[in-house]
């Protein structure tokens, strides 16, 4: 049997039998398949979504009213709805997440960590529809009683649920970021006479800020794409959330619009194309968010010398 010997880049010497050629070719194809999937997804979104841009005038598409039955496809309320819910969720989740990560990484004794980390993993595993169900039955009534919102299904309710859904991501990425700060930084802070508290906030957290920024980006990506829980607890009224009390009124996100309406539209109708058009917006938005997060990873690798 032919056993040509080749030198590989992994520092070893290995050969290849001719029977292995198809196996290795398959593996190579599978390796590249993910690029194919991303392109395929984008292609099909474009194929079904692009027609909306010549079926409906641009002024209508970026208008303020979404009433598909009257041929009004203004995406502005949906876009702003998504942004308001996401930003509110991150404003809640960021302090909670960073503080928890600091607590777990810098303060908690081992036994506390052994309890906290699995709990947070459990939270990550709870299906979004279950959290939405919980939000409808337990959080919404609470919001109704405390803030007097008529149904309790409000932007704030959605943001609260979303914040908890984003927490596992934020906590684990922020914790990794704190982990990469060298021990010598902490020692130096303490040796200068700073308290541990001062060292954490003046030295360790600032040194980990690019990782924490990445945690925020990834949490945001998770929040803006979240569908079921948001649809179940934000009330789904497609109104422009520009008034001061918008936080405690219903709104509708882009994801919820697709999920709620796609079941009822005829294939190939303007409404159908419009929903795919929203899909394109969501795809591009999350792509940009993840690209930013990924570039933060590359940045971190470049200043690896600091460790």
């Amino acid at each position: 049997m032919d056993k040509g010997v080749i030198v590989t880049n992994r520092g070893g010497i290995s050969g290849r039998r001719w029977t292995e050629v198809p196996i290795e070719a398959t593996i190579r194809v599978l390796g590249f398949s993910t690029i194919g999937f991303v392109l395929l997804i984008f292609l099909f979104l474009l194929r079904e979504g692009l027609p909306i841009f010549y079926e409906v005038p641009t002024g209508n598409l970026f208008g303020t009213r979404w009433y598909p039955t009257f041929e009004l496809f203004g995406t502005l309320p949906l876009l702003l709805g998504s942004i308001l819910v996401t930003v509110t969720a991150i404003l809640i989740a960021l302090p909670l997440g960073v503080a928890t990560a600091v607590f777990v990484r810098e303060l908690a004794p081992d036994w506390v960590r052994e309890i906290l980390k699995p709990m947070i993993e459990v939270l990550a595993g709870i299906p979004s529809v279950v959290l939405g169900f919980f939000g409808m039955h337990f959080v919404a009534p609470l919001i109704r009683n405390i803030f007097g919102a008529p149904t309790g299904l409000t932007v704030f309710t959605g943001a609260l649920i979303l914040a908890y859904m984003a927490l596992p991501t934020i906590i684990s990425v922020a914790e990794d970021a704190l982990d990469t700060v060298p021990k010598s930084y902490r020692d130096a802070g303490l040796a200068m006479g700073a308290t541990q508290w001062q060292t954490i906030w003046k030295v360790v957290v600032p040194a980990a800020r690019s990782g924490i920024l990445m945690a925020v980006m990834l949490g945001m990506g998770r929040a803006i794409g979240e569908t079921m829980a948001v649809m179940m607890v934000t009330g789904n009224a497609a109104r422009l959330p520009l008034t001061f009390d918008s936080l405690f009124r219903p709104a509708r996100t882009m994801t919820a619009t697709i999920a709620a309406e796609m079941g009822e539209v005829a294939q190939g109708s303007t409404h159908y194309h419009a929903l795919f058009g929203i899909g394109i917006i969501l795809f591009v938005l999350t792509f940009l968010i993840n690209l930013t997060a990924a570039s933060a990873i590359f940045r971190k690798q470049r200043r690896g010398g600091l460790r």
């Binding site: 010497i13 290995s14 593996i27 590249f32 999937f37 607590f103 595993g125 529809v129 999920a259």
Partner: protein
């Protein structure tokens, strides 16, 4: 103020925040377990729904979710593990490899409802599978693949390079080394990753909304081209779309779904920690 007093107050605040994060999780689990367990009977788990879903059981939704997971596993495991083998064992650090990594990050970040749109466009309409288990499983599979790739790659990279060098020094080919040594050594990690990927697929609703889910179909599917009911979609339907739905059934369905997903979660964690302790390298 005394800076040590500040420190003590600060630490107390951090502890408080950690409790704010954890207590609601316990509350969610507690409420669903307590309320849900009252609904769980043998009939609830094994009977067809009746009376417009207001009576009977949720058997077809459980079967549907298992079938979807089976299909997802069959489609996503070979692609995910194969892709990970390429990245961990073959790929060099070129721009193409970086493009693959970027693609994986982005696949993992695409909103679940966009996967649903894609599945509708490609599998249901373009390939004419119709709303079916096949279309849903393939949609879920593409969503699961990035999870399986990242966890499997991590497991493969944890196997020391020396193992590969030794196989090569004994005259083995690279593939023999991978199949005979690296894969078996990395298997527990790979299985953990597969379970984590599948549990995400099991709990997802948005990707199956337009690709597979039947609102009310009190029979079992006959072929991969049949639609089916599924647990997460069923929970969504009975808690938002059916007026006058008994709360008992809603809680029971939530508990069954939660139990399924969390038991997979625990299994993955146990496998991981068991083999990590037993590992000798």
């Amino acid at each position: 103020m005394d800076r040590f007093l500040v420190q003590r107050l600060g630490f107390a605040l951090l502890l408080f925040v950690a409790l704010v994060v954890v207590v609601p999780i316990l509350f969610v689990l507690g409420v669903i377990v307590v309320e849900g367990s009252m609904a769980i009977t043998w009939e609830f788990l094994s009977a067809m729904p009746s009376d417009g879903m207001k009576g009977g059981g949720i058997f077809p939704t459980i079967v549907g979710t298992f079938l979807l997971m089976l299909g997802t596993a069959m489609a996503s495991i070979p692609v995910g593990v194969g892709g990970a083998i390429y990245l961990a064992e073959y790929a060099r650090d070129t721009w193409l490899t970086r493009a693959i990594r970027l693609a994986i990050v982005n696949l993992a970040g695409i909103p679940s409802v966009v996967y649903g749109l894609f599945g509708l466009g490609l599998f249901v309409l373009f390939l004419q599978f119709g709303t079916s288990i096949l279309a849903g499983a393939l949609t879920l599979a593409i969503m699961t693949i990035p999870i399986i790739i990242s966890t499997t790659e991590e497991a493969l990279r944890a196997v020391p390079t020396e193992f590969r060098t030794i196989i090569a020094s004994l005259g083995g080919t690279r593939w023999q080394g991978i199949r005979g040594v690296v894969l078996p050594q990395a298997l527990p990690g790979i299985i953990t990753g597969i379970i984590l990927g599948l549990l995400r697929a099991a709990g997802e609703t948005a990707p199956i909304l337009f690709t597979v889910a039947a609102f009310y179909l009190p029979r079992l599917p006959h072929s991969p081209f049949d639609p089916t009911m599924a647990l997460p979609y069923h929970l969504y339907v009975i808690s938002t779309q059916v007026p006058g739905m008994p709360l008992r059934i809603q809680h029971g369905t939530a508990l069954v779904l939660l139990t399924l997903v969390l038991s997979m979660n625990v299994t993955a964690t146990v496998i991981r920690s068991y083999f990590r302790r037993r590992r000798q390298w």
